[in-house]
């Protein structure tokens, strides 16, 4: 009792309470509810039923692997593309741009404050038949590229576009943690520019690459807007399936099962993510 009393009286614990209790009610509560519903018989709307694993069996035997497959595949492709695209920018921000890096950071972060929908709609205008890209090509060269919108590449483009900052910023931190003296030592030992990159910079900036990759991976895995706005009916991703199970099909238990699977994958990744970072160092560095 005495230990509990002392623990509760810590100022840190007391100040953590408002946010903690709120998230317990608003975050942990719904997740537990979803888990409970996943064991209820199909198409029931109360929790009082006899638990069953019927939903899990039906999800595994039905064709949901297709939407899971698309989500996983697009997540992997997005991650790889983003590593290639953002590494040079991150390198520049960590080592080259100097005082300009702050401005560039702000410029890259600002679009995050604009609704995803609006930004993706901008791509619709660009990719549309007779849209900005197609129209310009027709006007300038008489060429037509009309089939760009509502395709899988368009979805990938949308994901790369929306999640770029989430790969870039961890990379910048990762690269800026590589001490300049190590590179000089390697150069001193006769390493070429490429060897320095491969033997020193890349392995040492690996934590940043890993954190960015995991982050982008979970965000793309659960994404909805990109496939709906830029993909049209091209493919169905897992978040679409979850949404229709809950809304159109009115099958809460099935939607819950799909959510539980997605949440489990996400939680495993978040677990690895958090093991990699010391928050005090990442947030507190100035």
């Amino acid at each position: 009792m005495k230990i509990v009393a002392r623990w509760i009286r810590q100022p840190g614990f007391l100040t953590a309470l408002p946010v903690g209790i709120f998230l317990l009610i608003g975050f942990a509560g719904p997740l537990v509810l979803v888990l409970l519903y996943s064991f209820m018989p199909p198409k029931t709307f109360t929790l009082g039923q006899v638990p069953t694993i019927e939903n899990y069996i039906s999800v595994v035997t039905q064709s949901y692997y297709i939407s899971f497959g698309w989500s996983l595949a697009l997540a992997v492709v997005t991650v790889f593309l983003l590593i290639l695209i953002t590494y040079p920018v991150a390198y520049g921000m960590a080592k080259i741009f100097g005082k300009w890096a702050t401005l560039i950071t702000i410029l890259i972060a600002l679009p995050l404050l604009i609704s995803e929908n609006i930004r993706l709609f901008g791509w619709v205008l660009l990719l549309l038949k007779n849209g900005i890209i197609d129209g310009s090509l027709q006007y300038l060269f008489g060429l037509s590229l009309s089939g760009m919108l509502y395709t899988v590449p368009a979805i990938v483009l949308g994901m790369v576009y929306v999640y770029l900052p989430f790969m870039l910023f961890p990379l910048v931190i990762g690269i800026s943690m590589v001490p300049e003296s190590l590179k000089e030592a390697a150069r001193d030992l006769g390493a070429s520019r490429f060897q320095i990159f491969r033997e020193v910079e890349l392995p040492l900036s690996m934590p940043g690459i890993l954190i960015g990759s995991l982050l982008v991976f979970i965000l793309t895995l659960g994404s909805l807007a990109e496939s709906k706005i830029l993909g049209g009916q091209a493919i169905v991703m897992i978040a679409d399936d979850i949404e229709s199970a809950f809304t159109f099909a009115q099958n809460w238990p099935k939607g819950s099962v799909l959510s539980v699977i997605l949440i489990t994958i996400s939680l495993i990744i978040i677990y690895f993510l958090f093991r990699k970072i010391d928050l005090d160092r990442v947030v507190g560095r100035r």
Partner: protein
């Protein structure tokens, strides 16, 4: 010599590449703004007729006013609540050393990395199980689940650089607890509080996945835009989109100006 010339080429390439990425990031938004000024019912490029009549219609429309008002109410409430709660949350995150802190730091960040659509649906399930009718009030609650952790994180950055000994020194020089809060703690933490508030407002204003499932009969601007994009396109889409972009840009620029002014004021006296 060889390697330094090589270095210059690599640097130039990186600069060009970064510029290209920035254009890539802003191009879609520019497209939206451009589209909002066309006359045609359906967007075509190159634009043949420029017009501002869709803006006039937007300002006159009552339904647009409703949308705006719903989004604004949600964002304002989310901002106020999250700033107050995150202030304490950030103290627990960054200032106090307490048993359970490392776990708290991780748990509190979970919602940020969580698929928002799934979170929105789980909240919908939660509300209907508890018998709560969804409306813009429940959307405030849902937005907070995601925004509160972000604001806590942003304020924590400022709290990390806060030295509690400043409070002790003020207290030692005769200040009461309240005076310490007013003279020392709040002024030093204010840049963090202001940036937290800006983020809270804009993230709530632009949120779509959480609103989609938890606003019930009410509709926010991002929801309306989405519904019109998927079916029943109207030229009002780029118009409202541009207004939102303009509004966000305005808030950001204004807050930069204020923060800068404040910093100068602090520098001089």
């Amino acid at each position: 010599m060889q390697s330094s010339r090589q270095g210059k080429v690599v640097r130039a390439l990186i600069v060009v590449w970064t510029g290209a990425i920035l254009i890539f990031l802003y191009l879609p938004m520019l497209s939206v703004v451009m589209a909002s000024f066309t006359k045609q019912r359906y967007f075509q490029f190159p634009v043949k007729m420029w017009d501002t009549r869709w803006y006039e219609k937007a300002f006159e429309s009552l339904s647009v006013r409703d949308l705006f008002w719903t989004s604004f109410s949600i964002a304002t409430l989310v901002t106020v609540i999250s700033v107050v709660m995150a202030f304490f949350g950030a103290l627990a995150f960054a200032r106090y050393d307490w048993k359970g802190r490392k776990l708290y730091q991780r748990l509190i960040l979970l919602p940020i990395f969580f698929p928002q659509a799934v979170l929105g649906l789980a909240l919908l399930l939660w509300f209907s199980s508890l018998g709560v009718t969804t409306s813009w009030h429940t959307a405030v609650f849902s937005h907070l689940i995601w925004i509160l952790p972000i604001v806590t994180l942003i304020m924590s950055i400022q709290v990390y650089s806060f030295d509690p000994v400043w409070e002790e020194a003020a207290y030692d020089l005769g200040a009461s607890r309240l005076q310490v809060l007013r003279e020392i703690t709040l002024p030093i933490l204010s840049p963090g509080i202001v940036s937290g508030a800006i983020f809270a407002f804009l993230l709530s204003w632009g949120n779509f996945p959480l609103s989609l499932f938890t606003t019930g009969a009410d509709q926010t601007i991002p929801e309306w835009l989405y519904s019109k994009m998927v079916s029943g396109y109207t030229p009002m889409v780029p118009t409202l989109g541009s207004l939102t972009i303009g509004g966000a840009a305005g808030i950001v620029i204004l807050s930069f100006v204020i923060l800068n002014f404040y910093r100068k004021l602090r520098g001089r006296r």
